[in-house]
Amino acid sequence: MTAKDQAPPHIQLGMTDEEYEHVIEILGREPMAAELAMYSVMWSEHCSYKSSRAHLGAFSADQPWVVVGPGENAGVVDLGDGWLAALRIESHNHPSYVEPYQGAATGVGGILRDVFTMGARPIAVWDPLRFGPLDEPRNRYLLEGVVSGIAGYGNAVGVPTLGGEIEFADRFSQNPLVNVMALGILQRDQLVLSAASEVGSLAILLGNATGRDGIGGASILASASFEEGDEEKRPNVQVGDPFEEKKLIEACLELYDRGLVEAIQDLGAAGISCATSETAGNGGRGMEVDLDRVHLREPDMTAGEILMSESQERMLAIVRPEDEAEVLALAKRWEIEASTIGTVTEGPQLVVHHRDELVADVPAASLADDAPVYHRPFERPGDLDEIWAREPEVPPDVDAAATLRLLLDDPAIGDRSWIWTQYDHMLFLNTVVGPGHDGSLLRIKETDKGLAVSTDGDALRTYLDARRGAARIVFESALNVAVTGARPYALVDNLNFGNPEVPEVMWQFVEAVEGMAWACGELDVPVVGGNVSFYNQTDGVDIYPAPVVGMLGFCEPMPERPPRLDRAEPGMSIYVLGPETVGDFAASAYDRIVNGELRGRPADVDGDAARHVVAAAATLAHTTPVLHDISSGGLAVALAEIAIASRCGLTVDTMPGPELFDETPLRFVAVTHDDELDTNEPHRRIGTMGGDVLDFGDAGRIDLAEATELFRNALPRRLH
């Protein structure tokens, strides 16, 4: 027995004494066992955002096209003509470390439920991933498991995965990051929210049977750091069932179509207790719940287990009593189980019975609304000045060919098709620009509207400067959607950080949030939702701060032939647009791969310039065959990617060697026929497509075939 086992129950459940006192104050008595379990999970970091909430107000969702901002299951924006888009991002970091396949799979399942809970049909998924270096077998195992989990669930549930992102760094070895973003579309009259306001309405539980899956799983796994020998956490593996989810999606969409639900909520962390208290609390009501009516997988479950179970693929629909029979019949037709487990009451109490015993009687809204808010101390890391003082070095006569060989062979730069060819990325016939490009572009059939998405993160740069790093992620993702022809329209963020009780981590968090909020403001992009994942720490080592964004872009009309990397042809001219380079090598691919260093301070971004460049790119996308943003690896890598995709060599004018690998943000390449670059934006013609060599003049040359081989094999050769 460890000391923890002898501690009072609330300590065992991860609650502080103060939090426990607060529960007593709310109830006017000591909580019963099931009540304590409910508060402990609902007030966990994962569910309550208690460490982050005080700072998230920096984000604004204040734009006229925002229909639903943060707070609901997904953000919703208006696309005109009655069309809406719903988007959300989530992390499944700890579950994916414990069991990569199921962790990633259930992450996909969960994010899809967030989107179809809003009334939307999910049409695409993205998967930003972070792992430790691939020379460790365990990291290869995690990557392969996560990718096959996303494929296994996403493909079978019938939602295409249109891209993602991947980064490798030592601090992710013990704590990989698995984020998933989903996008859905709906008609305005199908929008459903989660507030149960009509007294007498019924709560119907739909989908999977409730079993002992991950009791307290999400909250325990997501709210505590891993220590050596933490095997007890292992039985908390939740198993995903994409088949059940597919039926659930179709059933729910039909329920919305027929106007049969008043409100609906998916079951995630804290299962039934969360879904019942949130629907009732959001509507200012209460609810009577009878746990004996819950369909169970294991008959002998306790009240606490039923309330807290995190069995996957379940939804709670709030339905008018006169519609109950129709809802149950519809569930039967779609071959899903349904049981009426509760009734909405005047309020405010959530009253739960099990086997004729009262097991909980708490103010419904208190579980969500009375959660503590912490203003955790934060402190600038002491070594930052020293890190900034160390400047990255690039020799003026850098050998472009030798450097490119190293960079193209890097698993975070090389071809990622090993990942995305395992994902169905074509289902629904909407994919106009798929994975392998800066952003993906989807059409909305029967309209001239297009949606673009890019997910981006940059943990190393954010580690060097959390404010600038996070801001630059926003600008990069904006440019990524712009080069498909879309303008940045809404953003969701996933803030993956270490232990918030460490002041330096909290400082990174606050800086990143402010940097990100500033960048979004400069671009007029509303933040419509997000997720915070703290405690990404193992054995006292915090991850690099890894905010991730999912940027939604919107265009109408769609470009007739959107730019693609494979549309360059011999004889076309190559242009560079955007600001002059400033020698930005901190956390660059060059410094990381060639020098093996992480140091210096990343360059700042001028907000006005950013807005300008992004708008120019989105306009040019309507007339230019190839547009590609310059990011990791600089101009040299961007050009190589175009040449490889188009199977066409190129020659560029001699330029100062370092300029080829400079990562000054907000620059992009355009390739088009001479004199056809239709822009007022300053641009520079730097070369010509043609031949079978990448020719960088005095800086060196490399055969296209060799570059292609290195690029294509960068990931596979490390995995097999």
């Binding site: 493909n155 069932d241 088949f243 074509m426 289902l427 016939l429 106009v432």
Partner: protein, 230 residues
């Protein structure tokens, strides 16, 4: 009803094939797997997806859905019947096409365009194509690896209608994406009215999606609706 597109729980490509049939000028209707009447259908499509989650064995449970007795009746009577991907797997399980589909050689899901060579035009799927024609059509499957015990008989009979190949039409180990025996991507039955293929022609039905090569197959099927296949 013109074309009946059968939907099993877990099917997900039904709207995509309806879209492609529409482009080819054919009307279609979705039919739920518990229905039992397909009278009036001039053709039947079993679309792609994961019927019954692909649990137990791909196609195994779907093959016993109530609608399948009717699908079998029509197929035996000569109605054009097409299985795409999961639909192909179901037709094999049901014994309407020979062979079976097992896990890909590399045990990974494959979603990418592949090249196919038309081997025979004597089928509802290839009648408008030409022998030797090379088509670029996306594949999207985990269990796309074709196996058959009586391969020689299948070949001798001319049942193979599509084979994986490279862009120039040559077939070898490197152009075979999933390990299928004899690089078989699509086959037909003896009566030539039932056909199945692993790649998805509906995903190559518009230039904005990257390829229109699938339309010759969809159009063959649509042409078969009015002119019964031999």
């Amino acid at each position: 009803m013109t074309v009946a597109v059968v939907v099993f729980p877990g099917t997900n490509c039904e709207h995509d094939i309806v879209h492609a049939l529409d482009l080819a000028g054919a009307e279609s209707e979705l039919v739920w797997h518990t229905d039992t009447d397909l009278s009036g259908a001039m053709g039947v499509v079993l679309p792609g997806g994961f019927a019954h989650g692909d649990y137990l064995r791909t196609g195994a449970i779907a093959r016993f859905s109530p609608i399948m007795a009717e699908v079998e009746r029509l197929a035996i009577e000569g109605t054009p019947t097409l299985g795409i991907c999961n639909g192909f797997q179901i037709l094999c399980e049901a014994g309407l096409l020979p062979g079976a589909l097992v896990a890909n050689r590399d045990l990974a899901f494959i979603c990418k365009p592949v090249h196919l060579r038309v081997e025979s035009t004597e089928s509802i799927l290839t009648r408008s194509a030409t022998v030797g024609q090379v088509l670029e059509i996306p594949l999207n499957s985990y269990e796309g690896n074709y196996v058959a015990a009586d391969l020689d008989a299948i070949e001798a009979d001319g049942d193979v209608i599509l084979r994986y190949c490279d862009a120039t039409g040559r077939s070898d180990e490197t152009s075979n994406p999933n390990g299928s025996m004899n690089a078989i991507a699509g086959i037909t039955n003896r009566g030539r009215n039932v056909a199945g293929l692993m790649p998805h022609p509906e995903r190559a039905s518009e230039s904005i999606l990257g390829s229109e090569d699938g339309m010759v197959l969809i159009e063959s099927f649509v042409a078969s609706l009015t002119v019964p296949a031999t």
